[in-house]
């Protein structure tokens, strides 16, 4: 059995040194690099000691998935192939994870939806697979443009769900994500989401950890359920297959297992706070007006706050980093002084605003918007306009943007 403590300091076949993750992420020197989001995914996976990556083309994640193929060709990943559909790919990921591998995949939009049946299965089987979701439209008529609606469908699967704002978040969280996901008291899959194109296809300065350091390998024998490799006793996990029976014992077994999945999501909270330095980031939360957002809506909110400051309106900001576990107490605290809470989103239904309304007292304070969708950008002006309108201030018209 692999013992991560004895592996620290040794080298892998590419000459990278297995490094204590805390040291690697927080103490090792960083090199500023100018990369696209897709290239950043590749650089993170180069350092992630991944065993298996399974790919399928769908915009806007195709480039990242192909770049990881290059890593495989260079010998950084144990195995890599193109599956036949997202449903198959997510099942292939499951198979590899059942077999004790550290597994990585990427998907987007309709691919996420096609694969959906797999996600509660991943969580139920306690498979710590990491899936990058580069969000795009899922509606008909066909759209490939950025839109975060698919995240709403992931929130009740039992997966951990994080929402990255920038390529830097992406780089750090891919690596930290494996550490949180693989904790024995968590051992759940992670959907690491970002807004497609805005993060994947733009270049940004990202501070990278040294390329000759990598994560300690995954140890499948720390899993709370047996690894399916016939290296441990093939216990009969059930004396009687309760799965399809209609009796109280069967219901109770399934109910307690579902509760355990959500308890594991809850137990990930302490690890997530430790590694991400909190489930939320906050600025000026003593202000009367607070913007709460996730993903690139945070960047737009930040810019809107700067514009409002020029007009003498002071605004706070809450960046929601983890959606599962949900930062209920953090959001309550950060918005306790707010008279108005604005939730800008890149989707038509406003799923984040609904979550926040269900979290904060006096939920009439929550303004669900502005919303853009279908690939529209969200100029900070429309956030400014939304806020000024709500405050009864004069604002310019944003005809055609639905605000």
């Amino acid at each position: 059995m692999a013992d991560t403590h004895s592996i620290i300091g040794t080298k892998n076949k590419k000459g990278q040194t297995y490094t204590d993750t805390w040291k690697m992420m927080n103490e090792a020197p960083r090199t500023p690099s100018f990369y696209t989001g897709s290239e950043v995914i590749k650089e993170a996976i180069r350092r992630a000691s991944c065993d298996v990556m399974i790919a399928y083309p769908i915009t806007p994640q195709s480039e990242a998935a192909a770049l990881i193929g290059e890593l495989f060709a260079e010998g950084y990943i144990g195995d890599y192939f193109r599956g036949e559909s997202e449903f198959a790919v997510m099942s292939q990921c499951a198979g590899a994870s059942f077999g004790g591998a550290r597994v990585f995949t990427t998907t987007a939009g309709p691919g996420t939806m096609r694969a959906m049946e797999n996600f509660p299965m991943w969580a139920g089987a306690r498979l710590p697979i990491q899936m990058i979701v580069t969000c795009r439209g899922i509606n008909s008529p066909l759209s490939i443009q950025p839109d975060t609606l698919e995240i709403a469908y992931l929130l009740n699967t039992g997966m951990l769900v994080w929402h990255a704002e920038t390529a830097q978040d992406f780089f750090d969280w891919i690596l930290k994500g494996y550490i949180v996901s693989e904790e024995p008291d968590v051992h759940l899959p992670l959907a690491l989401c970002c807004d497609g194109f805005f993060v994947t296809h733009t270049k940004d300065v990202v501070n990278l950890t040294p390329a000759d350091m990598c994560l300690p390998p995954y140890d499948p024998y720390r899993s709370p359920v047996p690894c399916m490799d016939m290296e441990c006793p093939p216990v009969r996990m059930m004396r009687d297959p309760f799965v399809m029976k209609s009796n109280y014992i069967s219901y109770a077994t399934h109910a307690s297992w579902q509760q355990e999945i959500w308890a594991a999501v809850e137990r990930s909270r302490k690890h997530t706070i430790h590694w991400l330095n909190g489930l939320v980031d906050t600025e000026n939360t003593d202000a009367d007006i607070v913007i709460v957002a996730s993903g690139t809506a945070v960047s737009q909110g930040r810019e809107a706050i700067r514009m409002l400051e020029d007009e003498g309106v002071r605004c706070g900001l809450v960046k929601v980093k983890a959606l599962r576990p949900w930062p209920e107490e953090e959001i309550r605290q950060a918005t306790k002084n707010a008279k108005h809470i604005f939730v800008p989103e890149f989707n038509v239904t406003g799923w984040l605003a609904k979550e926040i309304r269900a979290t904060v007292p006096n939920s009439q304070r929550v303004h669900a918007g502005p919303h853009v969708c279908g690939g529209m950008t969200m100029p900070p002006e429309i956030i400014v306009s939304e806020i000024k309108t709500a405050l009864g201030m004069k604002t310019f018209s944003m005809a055609g943007r639905g605000s």
Partner: protein, 302 residues
């Protein structure tokens, strides 16, 4: 190649279930010549099952588990259906995840085991019903073969959806009246064995499970070819006696009737050239080993 992984700590021995104690005492993990003849003289790798009385699927399970050449390093993948009622009672690691994705699970699993255990044998065997293999999972069944994934696919063909109550399936015979085929099935039984051959399988057999010795032979061949060369496919008739209106004791006769030369389960096999060569080599080695053992036994008795 032994039972070392299932040994029980002495201090805990008496609190282990008796069927587990039996596995330690007399199962056939690691036995080189294990096969159907061990049934009755050793602990089987299947405990009690909850299939219908007389279900041919239960016979098939027993023969297959007795015949796997390497159960101590074999992982099985199942799917939803009657087989998923049995797998929890099987003493090799096995995975149920969703309905129809068994060959995708097996693809990822086999690759993970190859990455984690280079140079060691880890066999993967898929066992699923005809609905899982041919209807909902056909895409993943075929794609695994196209990719030349090195595992065995076994289809328990009962020519309908048994666990959900006898609905039409792609492997059902044309004209059969069933649920969801109220005027009889309108198209032919899907010819998956031929499709398997064209899709790149190196060893394909279509037969019934009426003869345990035959099941043993085809299982051993299929696993060995998959291990060394590429995908293999076995389509085994395991009639659902309940849904075709037979009694508990009539399953065996149903299989015998269906394997006559003109019937749809007449023995058919396809073996690729590399697989033929491999099987010939294995047969030669087997013969050599048996001759040596015989000689040794002769010397001992002399």
């Amino acid at each position: 190649m032994s039972k070392e992984r299932i040994q029980i700590s002495e201090a805990l021995y008496d609190i282990m279930p008796s069927d587990y104690q039996d596995l330690v005492k007399s199962a056939t993990y690691g036995k080189e010549d294990r096969g159907w003849k061990d049934i009755g003289t050793s602990k089987e790798l299947i405990e009690q099952h909850s299939l219908c009385a007389g279900c041919p699927e239960s016979m098939a399970f027993r023969y297959i588990l007795a015949s796997l050449p390497n159960p101590e390093d074999t992982v099985m993948v199942g799917s939803t259906g009657c087989t998923s009622l049995v797998f929890p009672m099987v003493a090799v690691h096995n995975i149920h995840s969703l309905f129809g994705n068994q060959n995708a699970i097996a693809s990822g699993l086999k690759r993970a085991l190859s990455v984690r255990f280079p140079g060691r044998v880890k066999d993967v065997v898929v066992l699923a019903g005809d609905g899982a293999t041919v209807d909902i999972g056909l895409d993943m069944t075929l794609q695994a073969w196209f990719r030349q994934e090195k595992f065995t696919t076994i289809c328990f063909d009962n020519e309908l959806y048994a666990n959900t109550g006898g609905q039409e399936s792609g492997l059902m015979q044309k004209g059969f009246v069933a649920k969801m085929a109220p005027v009889g099935k309108l198209f032919d039984k899907v010819r998956l064995p031929e499709i398997a051959r064209e899709s790149g399988c190196h060893y394909v057999v279509n037969c019934t499970v009426s003869k345990p010795s035959l099941v043993e032979k085809v299982i051993r061949n299929a696993v060995h070819v998959a291990r060394e060369i590429g995908p293999t496919y076995l389509q085994l008739y395991t009639p659902c006696i309940l849904e075709i209106g037979k009694n508990s004791m009539e399953g065996l006769q149903e299989m015998r009737d269906s394997e006559k030369p003109t019937e749809r389960f007449a023995y058919k096999e396809y073996i690729s050239e590399p697989a033929k060569q491999l099987l010939a080599e294995l047969a030669a080695k087997d013969k050599e080993r048996k001759a040596a053992a015989k000689q040794l036994a002769g010397q001992a008795s002399a």
